[in-house]
Symmetry: C2
Subunit: 149 residues, 2 copies
Amino acid sequence: METIFNDTYFMKKALLEAETAFNKGEIPVGAVIVTDNKIIARGHNLTELLNDVTAHAEMQAITAAANFLGGKYLHNCTLYVTLEPCQMCGGALYWSQISNIVYGAKDAARGCLHLQTKLHPKTKVKGGVLEAESAALLKRFFIEKRNLN
Amino acid sequence: METIFNDTYFMKKALLEAETAFNKGEIPVGAVIVTDNKIIARGHNLTELLNDVTAHAEMQAITAAANFLGGKYLHNCTLYVTLEPCQMCGGALYWSQISNIVYGAKDAARGCLHLQTKLHPKTKVKGGVLEAESAALLKRFFIEKRNLN
């Protein structure tokens, strides 16, 4: 029997976080951090509510995961995030030495891969998990926002 | 009479923050954010004490400044930081649209200029203010740390 704890399973959890952001009027990006098939941290974008450009989903999840682990390095951890991380989050992930980054939708303008942010040599990256769902939620947000203005 | 509120004046305040970090056993980097010749935020590196890679001096100062201003954009603000910001901090500064970044010592390995982190087109950068003092404090930290181990 195949384990249910695969990339799709955890990205769905990240998407739930993104939906929470959506419902708060935030650009809908969500993240979870997983080690040994256990979610140890969750985060969703809160830049508007907190008036803080650093309050990206990934940044909050990195801080929460380190707090849970009692150490700042996220070895043997995987970040699931619905959108390709930006330079800031990529830079934080570099310092964390996280083992894996799995993202949903691409960010061809501001993504850390596009902008060639240096990641840690220990870090593996995989994109495109629930890409359509992640991108659709973002698209819906911006359409609704445009119609409100 | 020349104003005392020049780059050297504010970088000295950032250096005081770096010394506070030093005294806590942290890599000594300090930062202040200034608008209209007024310091509106201070920060020093706390990555070890907080077990958090995101706790760089600049990140804390960005959050504190936005909190003070009641908005997430740091227009008409200048960051003074004793060490060239890293990719993470450079990425955060990109989002903040800060007007000026003034740094002390270069970071030829992990600095955002060296690694070509994209900064906001509105942001001007100046390096080398109290460079020797900023670099000397870092050097002293690493020498003392090596001698303790």
